[in-house]
């Protein structure tokens, strides 16, 4: 842009000239400008058949939508945010029902650890990490990402208060103010934690990506449940093999089994990425680990620590994988123009042949 020097910020010189020189250097060094499949020439012929734009009516089968640009930090954040958020609920509930102080402490520290790591992941994923504070320029309730950014900040604060309060109380400082801070911290951490653990489902669901938006009612409960089982599982893995964690593990695995089963039974065109291809299989593996495998391990092997460790580990593995699987499915879904068109012309919900 002629007027603004911000279009290509002072961090880099003008994109065009620099790029041109780079191309010239490349061309001089290699004798050519690299093309798609490398070297002079293409391995793969293009997609289009001559004479038709596309039999089913798209533009050369090219994608309509843009794929998500998020890298591994984002699904990992989804997972850790879920764990952290639910951990604070666990801490609150345990506190409420006079549970094991060690467990409460562990849960609070999990919440805080998550609150510490999550922003790092998010900032790393940004295209311009140095501008992360711009997330707090405005608050937009209609943007789940804005809600999430502020929630993360609030949660971090509350988790910190809760941990601080708890540590001080554990060391004997039990002034009413401190106890009030502890309870305030725990309650607000739990409240914001629930948002933190579920909003990511809304974030993913309220987009233009068909497989996401058509499963938007499923995603929040799935992410919550997944976070619950993971938080409980982590507590088990560090030694809290209690009946509470077992119950939470069973509930989580059970709900995940139901969720996985309902996904498996959906036969809409928009759900193709969930069933077919590499993304489909990955989704299935993730769901199986989180669902029936973890459930069976818990039921059958409940009385052995190794069984619980295995169930916890499987669930956690499945939960992590599931986040990645949903992002992957989103990419596949973005690439499919036909699913999008059919959805919009009302055919998405009609059954496909199985």
């Amino acid at each position: 842009m002629a007027q603004s020097d911000n279009a290509n910020s002072t961090r880099r010189p003008k994109a065009t000239e620099e790029r041109l020189d780079q191309i010239r250097r490349e061309a001089a060094a290699t004798g050519g400008v690299p093309v798609a499949s490398g070297g002079a020439g293409h391995a793969a012929p293009p997609v289009a058949l001559p004479g038709k734009t596309d039999a089913a009516g798209s533009y050369y089968n090219l994608p309509v939508l843009k794929e998500p640009t998020w890298t591994w930090e984002v699904p990992l954040y989804f997972f850790l945010g879920g764990v952290a958020g639910v951990s604070s609920c666990i801490a609150l509930a345990a506190q409420f029902f006079s549970g094991d102080p060690a467990l409460i402490r562990a849960a609070l520290w999990m919440a805080l650890a998550g609150a510490a790591i999550c922003p790092i992941l998010l900032i790393a994923d940004l295209g311009r990490p140095s501008r992360f504070l711009n997330m707090l320029r405005v608050f937009k309730i209609q943007s789940p990402m804005s809600v999430g950014a502020w929630t993360l900040v609030a949660f971090s604060g509350c988790a910190f208060l809760a941990v601080l309060g708890n540590e001080l109380v554990l060391r004997g400082f039990s002034s009413p103010l401190l106890v009030a801070m502890l309870w305030t911290g725990e309650i607000s951490a739990a409240a914001t934690g629930l948002i933190l653990a579920s909003y990511t489902g809304v974030l993913v669901g309220a987009t233009a990506i068909p497989v996401w938006s058509e499963n938007r009612k499923l995603l929040p409960p799935h992410f919550l449940t997944s976070g619950l089982g993971s938080a409980a599982g982590i507590l088990e893995l560090v030694g809290f093999l209690t009946s509470a964690t077992q119950i939470l593990g069973l509930i989580s695995a059970g709900i995940e089994t139901l969720i996985g089963g309902s996904i498996e039974l959906r036969r809409r065109n928009v759900d193709i990425p969930l069933h077919y291809g590499k993304s489909g299989w990955f989704m299935r593996i993730a769901g199986t680990l989180e669902g029936p495998v973890a459930l069976l391990l818990r039921i059958i092997w409940h009385s052995y620590p190794i069984g619980r460790y295995a169930a916890a580990a499987c669930f956690i593995a499945g939960a992590v994988a599931s986040r990645f699987a949903w992002i992957w499915a989103g990419r596949v879904s973005a690439r499919d123009p036909h699913a999008l068109f059919q959805l919009q012309t009302g055919k998405a919900n009609s059954s496909r042949p199985a």
């Binding site: 400008v33 093309v35 289009a48 001559p50 004479g51």
Partner: protein, 836 residues
């Protein structure tokens, strides 16, 4: 036109939106076809057949504009009895000399007219063709023709035309052009309905017509059609050449062509005809018509060249002008180069290593020079031939063995220099300089001026008479700025012309004299700078729908030439709707919406007295003032090397034998220049069964130097592709996008296959003929590279203007890439080892 002149095409779109019919005929379905009202394919090379059939249609349906052709064209003129047509002689005209492979055009001239040709001792019988032969004084009395205004006389042009084209029928078009009969008739009807007193139609063409061995005759057929329909000299009519370069019109006006001088004056040929200025003028100055002023123009030009050194005593320096001694055209000197007969070459704003015919020969030939100067904005393929050409990569040439010293001089871009462009409408538009060129970059003016200055300085110290011309050349322009740039307006003023005594600018070419009192660098441009400070090329205030006030159209700012034809013989417009110029009986002069291309005071009913000369010899109803007879030439009595009427000949490489004249396959006068390394296919040829045509696309410009070096253009079309039909792809098993090799006898190149229904398989002569299309923009320099399409083209010469036939060739197509360069690189390396 939409492909290559998209900005100009906006006017076609506007016309279409107002109801004009846009008819497109092309071997391919292009971006023009996409928005046309009518499209037909045409087999590349069968254009005269198609156009001739249109002429035949006009004649058989009597759709000609009768009053127009009777008065304004030579349709009623009676021809000689000894003229024999191609119909009589199976494809040749009378006067053919099989040994000389040339025509003696005596029998082509009008009956009763005495031909000059052969009278001037030493002049060849018949012109050699050339870019400026319509003005030659081939007949002292071309104006003494006889007419039959009823057009019934069996030897009048109209009847000869009828007989000549009678076999050019819609059936023949269907059978040999690939246009269905229905489509042809639909097209013909539409076009005829768009002509007449109230309507006009324009024909626009480009190198799809010119780059053929009968290129000039193809355009002639269109001209005949337009004359028959009364479309010349009228608004919305005409035959428009869409030129392939922003100022290529300018480069024929002030020519870079070897056989003409500025203003379409003939370059003298070595021989008695140019032994003296008087002899030269005698040959070139007709008695009648506007070219009778020829001597004024040549003398004024010589005064511009040589200034005070040009005097009546030394024939104004006429002997200093170079003389043509042979074929100095591009193909001509290319072959001389190849044979090692040339020492040096200046290549300015051209890229023959990519754009020349048979560009493989071009690159080899460059290696035979002692020195090569390339002036370019980028390191073009021509400048890089010695280390980067395919021949070097294949090991056929070694840089160590190429003795050419290459000087690459950086050239200024169009925004870094000032001057004019002359576009296809004959419009001179001045360009301001926006920035100074950086570093060593210089404009052409600077380069030529300072090179000349240094040569003049050397010549001043060397008293030999051979340098006298160099010493005499005037180069006195004011120099400006840190680069000492010659002032471009001063050059334009010299082109405009002035009276020598007081250096007063002339108002136009009527003021030029033959006695040495005026100087003028280019008579057709005269009037562009009539007063100090009045640079009409730089005017930007259009005041009417013909844009007078914006730029300067030569001649004399006439926007439509021959516009006398837009009025009836009595001087009133043909119609209110199509009025352009008309006779004002009150003021006794021609007036109207355009500058009249006619002597302003010559009444419509003016009859020339006997013995009148020049323009005064032309009647008041003869608009074509540059012709000695003032008429539009349906029949060309003088000036063309290959016939007074166009006849269908097949291209040199054709899939069929000539259906019209079985004994004359291709243009008998065109030159094949065949030799080792540039062989031709047979017609037809089993080895090369497909028709190949080359062309341009919007995204790239000519040889790619100005487009493949810019990322924003290069990315639009990064790789060479060849367009083939769905049927051909199926026949050869070619998948869309995969590599194919296209081969002709000259070489082979590789391209991606773009399989598309826009290329049709045509039924020609009862068999399926496939056409293959190649854009010619790629080369081995730049951001994006590709094989060079013109490696496949043969070196040929159309007989009049010597253009090569790049539009109708034969080829073969195979799946897969050509032999990889590195395989051959191994061969080269082992050769190097053996030499060590």
């Amino acid at each position: 036109m939409a492909e290559n002149h998209p900005v100009a095409f906006q006017w076609v779109m506007e016309a279409r939106e107002k109801g004009a019919q846009v008819i497109h005929v092309d071997p391919r379905f292009t971006r023009t076809s996409a928005v046309a009202n009518i499209w037909t394919p045409v087999r590349a090379g069968s254009d005269i057949l198609l156009l001739g059939a249109l002429v035949n249609y006009v004649l058989t349906t009597e759709s000609d504009f009768r009053e127009y052709i009777v008065h304004y064209t030579n349709a009623p003129v009676i021809l000689r009895e000894d003229f024999k047509d191609t119909e009589d002689l199976d494809g040749i005209f009378s006067g053919w000399d099989p040994e000389k492979k040339a025509y003696d055009p005596q029998t082509w001239i009008y009956e009763g007219v005495h031909s000059n040709i052969g009278d001037v001792p030493g002049s060849d019988k018949g012109p050699d063709g050339g870019h400026a032969t319509h003005g030659v004084n081939a007949a002292t009395d071309l104006n003494d023709y006889h007419v039959d205004p009823t057009l019934q006389h069996s030897r009048c042009v109209y009847q000869v035309l009828r007989r000549h084209y009678v076999r050019y029928t819609p059936e023949m078009v269907e059978k040999y052009c690939g246009v269905s009969k229905d489509a042809f008739l639909h097209l013909a009807k539409a076009y005829c309905e768009a002509s007449g007193p109230d309507k006009t139609g324009a024909i626009c063409y480009a190198v799809g017509w010119t780059q053929h061995s009968s290129g000039v005759q193809i355009i002639r057929t269109a001209a005949i059609l337009q004359l028959l329909l009364g479309n010349i000299g009228r608004p919305g009519g005409g035959v428009m050449a869409l030129r392939g370069h922003a100022s290529i019109q300018g480069s024929t006006d002030i020519p870079t062509l070897f056989d003409i001088l500025p203003g379409y004056l003939n370059m003298p040929k070595l021989g008695p005809a140019s032994a003296s200025l008087d002899k030269y003028i005698e040959v070139n100055k007709p008695e009648t018509g506007w070219w009778n002023n020829f001597d004024k123009y040549i003398v004024s030009l010589l005064k511009a060249y040589y200034g005070d050194a040009a005097t009546p005593q030394n024939e104004f320096g006429f002997h200093w002008l170079p003389r043509i001694t042979g074929d100095h055209s591009h193909q001509g000197y290319l072959l001389e180069m190849m044979d090692g007969k040339m020492e040096g070459l200046f290549v300015m704003g051209q890229n023959p290593a990519v754009a020349g015919p048979n560009s493989g020969i071009e690159r080899r030939a460059l290696g035979k020079l002692k020195w090569l100067v390339v002036r370019e904005m980028v390191e073009s393929e021509t400048a890089a031939f010695w280390y980067d050409s395919p021949e070097v990569h294949r090991g056929e040439l070694l840089p160590e063995e190429i003795g050419t010293e290459v000087f690459l001089m950086p050239a200024a871009g169009h925004a870094e220099k000032e001057g004019t462009f002359t576009n296809t409408e004959r419009l001179l538009q001045w360009r301001e300089k926006a920035v100074d060129p950086p570093d060593d970059v210089r404009s052409e003016n600077w380069f030529i001026y300072h090179l000349s200055r240094r040569l003049k300085e050397k010549a001043a110290r060397d008293a030999r008479s051979r340098n006298s011309g160099l010493r005499a050349l005037t180069m006195d322009y004011p120099l400006e700025g840190k680069h000492q740039e010659p002032n471009a307006e001063a050059i334009l003023q010299e082109i405009n012309g002035w009276t020598v005594a007081d250096r007063k600018l002339v108002s136009g070419f009527p003021a030029l004299k033959a006695d040495g009192s005026t100087a003028c660098g280019c008579w057709i441009y005269s009037g562009v700078f009539p007063n100090p400070g009045e640079n009409r090329a730089n005017q930007r205030a259009p005041k009417d729908s013909y844009a007078h006030g914006w730029g300067f159209a030569w001649p004399s700012d006439r926007r439509i030439i021959y516009n006398r034809a837009s009025a009836r013989p009595d001087g009133k417009p043909w119609s209110e709707r199509k009025k352009l110029v008309w006779w004002d009986d009150a003021d006794k002069k021609w007036t109207g919406l355009d500058v009249p291309d006619f002597t302003a005071t010559k009444a419509p009913d003016y009859k020339p007295p006997k013995g009148a000369k020049g323009d005064a010899a032309l009647a008041g109803d003869k608009p074509f003032i540059l012709h000695a007879d003032g008429m539009g030439w349906i029949w060309v009595p003088v000036g063309l090397a290959d016939g007074p009427l166009p006849a269908h000949y097949e291209p040199f490489e054709s899939p069929v034998r000539n259906p019209m004249y079985p004994r004359t396959q291709s243009n008998p006068v065109a030159l094949k220049k065949e030799r080792e390394g540039t062989e031709y296919a047979a017609s037809p040829d089993e080895r090369f069964p497909f028709v190949l045509t080359t062309y341009r696309i919007t995204e790239h410009h000519t040889a790619g130097g100005m487009s493949r070096t810019l990322s924003h253009l290069a990315e639009l079309q990064p790789e060479l592709f060849c367009e083939i039909s769905v049927e051909l792809a199926a026949k050869l098993g070619i998948q869309p996008g995969e590599w194919v090799t296209v081969a002709t006898p000259r070489g082979e190149i590789e391209a991606h296959a773009l399989v598309t229904p826009r290329i049709q398989a045509l039924s020609i002569g009862g068999k399926i003929v496939h056409q293959v299309g190649l854009p010619f923009h790629w080369g081995y320099s730049g951001l994006v590279k590709g094989d060079i399409a013109n490696d496949l083209v043969a070196i040929s010469e159309e007989p009049n203007v010597r253009i090569m036939e790049a539009k109708g060739l034969l080829c073969n197509v195979k799946r897969g890439r050509r032999s990889p360069d590195d395989k051959i690189k191994d061969m080269r390396d082992s050769r190097m080892e053996n030499r060590a």
